[in-house]
Amino acid sequence: MEWFIANASFVGGLAATHLSISVGPIIIGSLLAILLARVIPRRFVNPARTVLGAIYAIPSLALFVALPALLGTSYIGPTNVVIALTLYVITSMYFSARDAFSQVPLATMTTSRALGMNSRQLFVHVELPLAVPGLIAGLRVASASTISIATIGAVVGVRDLGYLFLDGFQRKIPEEIISGIVAVCVIALALDAGLWLIGRLMTPWRNARVNRV
């Protein structure tokens, strides 16, 4: 605790970097995953599952340093970390998005069609709102693991909260490592709570009280 109080502003700076490299991948990755879940035709679902499952399995450090050979980016620095985190969000959100959309009742879809909605209206006004609970659930998983994986970026020179692990280990200060773990958990839980709240606000019909006469 003493270590944390003495170094609070330093940890704050690392936390800011941490957020700045994780938030982009969470947002962009989720949007791409939703897009993929919508456009991949049914017969390519199984190959897509295999490929995305395989990417999901790649250890993060190995992915960070494999990207430069493919993309020509620099080995050190945040670029590879941001790309890798985006890939992980896509792989994890893709499955959640597919589930979320498949749980929209068929009867609701056909009713909306019968009411004369076109595909775009159907998506915006029926499918998307009804998929929100599933999408938020997937997003909560993806955001927590992204915040946690981002720490490994410190190994390739990103000064985020993972830096506290490397520095604390080298200088043998357990308090520094523990401060890092706690800071990561606090950020992850705060994002989780925020997403939960957004989910509640976006689905007002779920918590509406039913007045029975």
Partner: protein, 228 residues
């Protein structure tokens, strides 16, 4: 970009394949750490998860562990354990950290495998006179196996992604090539190590996935024996 000349030089260099930090030794250490950690974790997690699923007691533990474990950075857990237990016990602390990382998904897999069994199946097993042990051994374990293997798959992925960091606390494993290569700016070594890690991990993941599909296929009723 990856320079092929540099890559060739490194691949042919002495010490790349043999010796304490040769790829052969590092591969063995990598696999050993992964497998030992998974076995230790499975010995604890599978009985525990099945017990919680069977009795229904303590299911909040499973749910709480599941969401907390995603937020805890595995790298911090690894470093903290090695530092707190002392660097002279680093093998032990690394295996302990890896086993801890593998526990939540394994417990969750065993737990959900047992709880999703239709109550009618368990009731009819009991009605046939099966003892609790027979019910667990001959009904719950086989029916829970796909979900159990699914938990194993997640645990494997988590453990391997942390094994790669073991060189940072002074052990070996294939991550050594990445850490050393980054420090020495030997990017051929970095790339080759990363590619080997990726290939091995994906092969392992696909193998476990195959096992899961086999286990699922075994549970499907043969043709003609579906619903009456």
């Amino acid at each position: 970009m990856c320079d092929f000349g540099e890559l060739g030089t490194w691949l042919c260099a002495e010490g790349t394949w043999t010796g304490q930090y040769g790829l052969g030794n590092l591969l063995v250490e990598h696999l050993l750490l992964t497998v030992v950690a998974l076995i230790v974790a499975a010995l604890i997690a599978i009985p525990l998860g099945m017990f919680i699923g069977h009795t229904g007691r303590g299911s909040f533990v499973v749910i709480g562990l599941g969401s907390l474990s995603r937020a805890i950075p595995t790298m911090g857990l690894l470093f903290a354990l090695v530092l707190l237990l002392g660097v002279q016990f680093r093998e032990l602390s690394v295996v302990l950290a890896l086993a801890l990382i593998a526990l939540p998904p394994l417990i969750a897999g065993a737990y959900s495998g047992v709880t999703t069994i239709a109550p009618g199946i368990r009731d009819s097993a009991t009605a046939q006179g099966m003892t609790t042990w027979q019910l667990v051994r001959h009904v719950e374990l086989p029916l829970a196996s796909p979900s159990l293997i699914g938990g194993f798959r997640i645990a494997f992925i988590q453990v391997v992604s942390t094994v790669v960091l073991a060189p940072l606390v002074g052990l070996g494993g294939l991550g050594f090539g990445i850490i050393q290569g980054l420090a020495l700016r030997n990017f051929a070594q970095v790339t080759v190590s990363a590619v080997i890690i990726i290939v091995i991990t994906i092969a392992g993941e696909q193998l476990i996935g195959l096992g899961q599909r086999r286990a699922e296929a075994r549970l499907v009723a043969p043709k003609g024996l579906e619903k009456p």
